[in-house]
């Protein structure tokens, strides 16, 4: 059994692993941290590398799949409207798009921006509800990635690599920290019921990490977790007897030195716990009407995303480490992928998500959960300043916006900037790796220490060294 997933360790092995596995910074903090008791649950909570810096316990990633336009949301560009219909002035430099050709002209926006809150952060009229939360938002207007096509860009956003096969941020987070909940999955993805995304399931996956770090994909409907329900015709009382029999038979043949069999017995105990306790957490009907309304549950077009956001809050409240709530799925126009008509697409996508997202932020805040929950909002890229086919915008990876809130992030500010037409991140550009590094940092994790030996390389979430975005923390 590989050491990475050995269930129990003696003190010497623990120290050896600590020396081999982590950088010296992390080692020092690990030696200060209490020695974990021998445990048979590989997802038992682990101390972060930097306990003093750990502000967030959980992450909720509001994944706006397909790529929301920065110039229609959080990055006002008056010059773009002035240059509407003209070709991009050469002074702004070159950009490669997936579809738009060189002869394309710039497309102004029909959106209007206003300053909100004490911070005066500018938000477009797409997000009337979110604008009530601006003092908690830290908008990063200078994000950039390396790829301009969905699949590869989604891989980079989720895993730090443009190729599939690497662990996602969620898997890294639970590899580093375990989970606080014994009755819920540690890392949950709630896909949009409209359909799949280009990068498919591999973007959420554990890659080469052991299967214990895989995501749990929630299904649509009232029973989201696969295999949590008993098969038809089997009563809980009957099944409990079967589980007890399994335990009895395993113990009847237990070798004294076998630590892994012990682990299996505990896995069954945990499974039973999940089966009995998770359904209550997953059932949002117990929420008061006022809360459901806050998220837009029970009204269209917010019901679906609202339910999933409300469920996300219930999950983190109960100790789930990482939740990804996807907006957009299926054919491009059901995502934020507004090739044909930016107005039609973004008005529709925004109204589905604006109230639920704001509801989530407000609800987390009033429950005192926002301090310990890092909320990240964004897509795999933004959209082109040029028009595509008259009214649409193409993919655009050279400069776009994401935002963070909670989890120790300083809200009420916009950092970095794109140029005057939103083409390129020009002031304090931040790559996905910097977003990843900052996210890990808020969880108290160090990008170098959080590593796993694979094929002769000490792999980590960031391929090239990322930077903690100091203005945010």
């Amino acid at each position: 059994m590989p050491e990475h997933v050995r269930i129990t360790r003696n003190r010497r092995e623990f120290i050896t692993d600590a020396f081999c596995g982590f950088g010296s910074v992390a080692l020092a903090s690990m030696l200060q941290a209490q020695m974990p008791a021998a445990t048979v649950n590989p997802l038992a909570p682990k101390a972060p590398h930097m306990p003093a810096k750990a502000k967030a316990k959980s992450v909720i990633f509001l994944f706006m799949a397909g790529g929301p336009s920065h110039v229609e949301t959080f990055d006002p560009k008056p010059l773009l409207n002035k240059l509407h219909g003209q070709k991009r002035p050469a002074s702004f430099g070159e950009a490669k798009y997936q579809f738009v050709k060189k002869d394309a002209t710039l497309l102004g926006t029909k959106r209007t921006f206003r300053k909100y809150g004490e911070s005066g952060l500018e938000v477009s009229d797409l997000f009337p509800h979110m604008s009530e939360c601006v003092d908690d938002l830290a908008v990063i207007r200078s994000c950039h990635g390396d790829m301009v096509v969905h699949s590869a860009a989604q891989y980079q956003l989720m895993t730090g690599r443009i190729l599939p096969g690497f662990p996602s941020m969620g898997s890294w987070a639970i590899y580093g920290l375990g989970t606080e909940s014994e009755s819920l999955p540690a890392y949950v993805v709630m896909p949009d019921p409209d359909g799949a995304l280009e990068a498919g399931q591999p973007m959420y996956s554990n890659g080469f990490l052991p299967a214990v770090y895989q995501p749990t994909m929630f299904r649509a409907g009232e029973r989201p977790v696969l295999n949590l329900d008993l098969p038809k015709g089997v009563s809980p009382a009957e099944r409990e007897k079967t589980v007890r029999l399994i335990r009895g038979l395993n113990e009847a043949n237990l070798e004294p030195d076998d630590t892994e069999f012990e682990a299996r017995i505990q896995a069954y105990d945990l499974a039973f716990k999940m089966q009995t306790e998770a359904p209550a957490v997953l059932d949002i009907s117990s929420e008061p009407e006022e809360t459901r309304e806050l998220y837009g549950v029970g009204a269209e077009p917010t019901d679906d995303y609202g339910r999933r956001c409300l469920l996300a809050r219930r999950l983190v409240e109960n100790g789930v480490r990482f939740v990804c709530v996807v907006s957009g799925g299926g054919p491009g126009n059901l995502q934020w992928d507004a090739h044909d008509d930016i107005e039609e697409n973004h008005l529709r996508m925004a109204v589905q998500t604006d109230k639920p997202v704001a509801g989530l932020l407000k609800d987390l805040k009033r429950r005192g959960l926002l301090d310990s929950t890092l909320v990240l909002w964004g897509g795999e890229f933004g959209r082109s300043p040029e028009c595509e086919g008259g009214k649409g915008r193409d993919h655009h990876n050279l400069g776009f916006s994401m935002w963070m809130a909670g989890g120790g992030i300083k809200g009420g500010q916009a950092i970095g900037a794109t140029d005057e037409i939103g083409l390129r991140a020009v002031e304090s550009p931040y790559h996905f790796r910097d977003i990843h590094t900052t996210l890990l940092h808020q969880l108290g994790l160090n990008q170098d220490a959080l590593s796993y030996m694979h094929q002769g390389r000490r792999e980590r979430l960031t391929e090239i060294q990322g930077e903690v975005i100091s203005a945010l923390v």
């Binding site: 269930i7 295999n227 329900d229 079967t242 029999l245 038979l249 030195d257 999940m274 390389r457």
Partner: protein, 665 residues
Amino acid sequence: MLAPRSILPGLLAASFLLASGEVAPLETYKPQERNYWAFKPRSKPLVPAFTNPADRAWTENPVDAFVLERLHKEGLRPAPEADRPTLIRRLYFDLTGLPPSTAEVDAFVNDAAPDAWPRLVERLLGSPRYGEKWGRHWLDLVRFAESDGFEYDNHRSDAWRYRDYVIRSFNEDKPYDRFVTEQLAGDEIAPGDEEMRVASGLQRLGPLRLNAGNQEVASSRSEVLIEMTNVVGAAFLGVTVGCARCHDHKFDPIRHSDYYRLQAYFAATHADNVPVASASEQASWTAKAADAKAEVETIRRAMKGLEGDARKQMAKKLRAAQEKMPPPLPALFSVRDDYSRATPIHILARGDYRDQGAAVGMRPLGVLLPEGTPERPIGTEYPRAELARWITDPENPLTARVMANRVWLHHFGRGIVDTPNDFGRMGGRPSHPELLDYLANWLVDGGWRLKPLHRLILLSNAYRQASTSPLVAAAMEKDPNNKLVWRYSRRRLEAEEIRDAALAVSGRLNTKLGGPSVIVPVDQELVNLLYKPSQWAVTPAAEEHDRRSVYLIAKRNLRLPFMEVFDAPDLQLSCARRESSTHAPQALELLNGGFTNQMADALAERLHKEAGDDAAAQVDLAYRLAASRPPNAREKELALEFLAAQPLREFALAVLNLNAFLYVN
């Protein structure tokens, strides 16, 4: 079927012709870099001798002599021999991936002949199930999958031929040097031979990114070349050449230029689908495809300028027309050299295809060549055959060691080098360096055949040890990970083994060999997570769903949850050693999952049919099927108590959840 022998002897000697044209300077390597153990020639180790009669008796097999010597050094002793039911179950899973039948267990347990064990080994090495099991190990290594991955994840409807080729090669005990050569250069050696064309499909097994719109030809080509190069390093050489793509390897003497010189062997390699359909089939396909294409084009033209509902309607029509494309005709999924389209290979700063440095030609890893060995120019004929000759040269210090180590790994659960794809400095040191060389020599001297190597290992006492030892406390203190093999390391069955064994135990296993891959029904929600859900076209014949897991489709964007939860590889990168994790979702899968519940019904039916209404007989049979042994007294007591009030199918489900079923001792 002869290799186009070039004038080169193909040895490590400086026999490469001088390249013409301008090339990057040749790197030099320090003596201490060359003296790293894995790069040095294999030794001819002496088999340790023992004076004590008991030790001498235990070490008749050279494997045991090497193992015992190390144990003695640490003051450890081997565990006693495992009992016969344990041995036969272990051997069945190791060689065939399936449990023995009750009759086979009985026959072996009652076989008093002194050669009972060797005969059993021989029989299983000759079983077609051997190739299915050991072929699976190889498929992990070469990231075998049957779809492109990325957004389209298009199916490669003929990739199963490569899987069958691998299984067949293991069953035939094809010499490993030939196996490597066929996969690297089958198309160069014998372009007209179907089997060889299928073998060289290896180059194309990785994920492939396709996208609509503006094409970045150079970037896509660079991705393909990287993929081909990395798998050669990982699978054949056991060194992480991929680490040198962006800069000199940080730990091993693999220079930045070495990576690109290795990549240069693939410069002319391009995808090639070799049609195997008859001329008339092809003609009719072409006609159908032309009609469909024409219709698509017409609709596309009509769509231009349309807006709103009209556009939506047209888009619907377009999708319908696209669906009319006939399914691809059978074709060999292969590659071929096209020297006119050879990609010039440059050293790329930070691995970025836009940042081209000096041009390079073809040359294997410099640290394994005499100083100053020149490159060969790109465009030289039969480049991959030349690379294969270098890799399979008996004097190549890596190839045989790496493969012998893999064989050891899959018998003992841990390699002599514990990082089977990385023999470099960041990898593990060999626990038994002399034994590793002995096994590698055995492989080469035996004509590169694997079966003699299996035989040598399986006939050893080291392999037949029990998984418990009376000296466990002392041994755990000195060697908790059992690196020194003081007992047999108990292991959990691999994902496929669990599924296949459940099918076998419940009497449902369909043992059909080979052919196109099977798509089994899965939860619809999972299919909806595919970008094109229609790709998951379930195989209509239900009996096909009960075939061995190696024949189930390997689709990159939809892995079976059952496989995923038990650490099956993710089909994207080479996987040399699977993880074995233990966690609650596995228990949920085995308790509540559709598959195990179906199997529980089938097993209950079987128990009833074969053991009648007598609960004691049912329990006895269940254990003999699932654990290859009768239940002990306590197990029997508990089971009978349960069955007095609970249904047989719940007992059957419990059996499929037992450690006794899921682990090999």
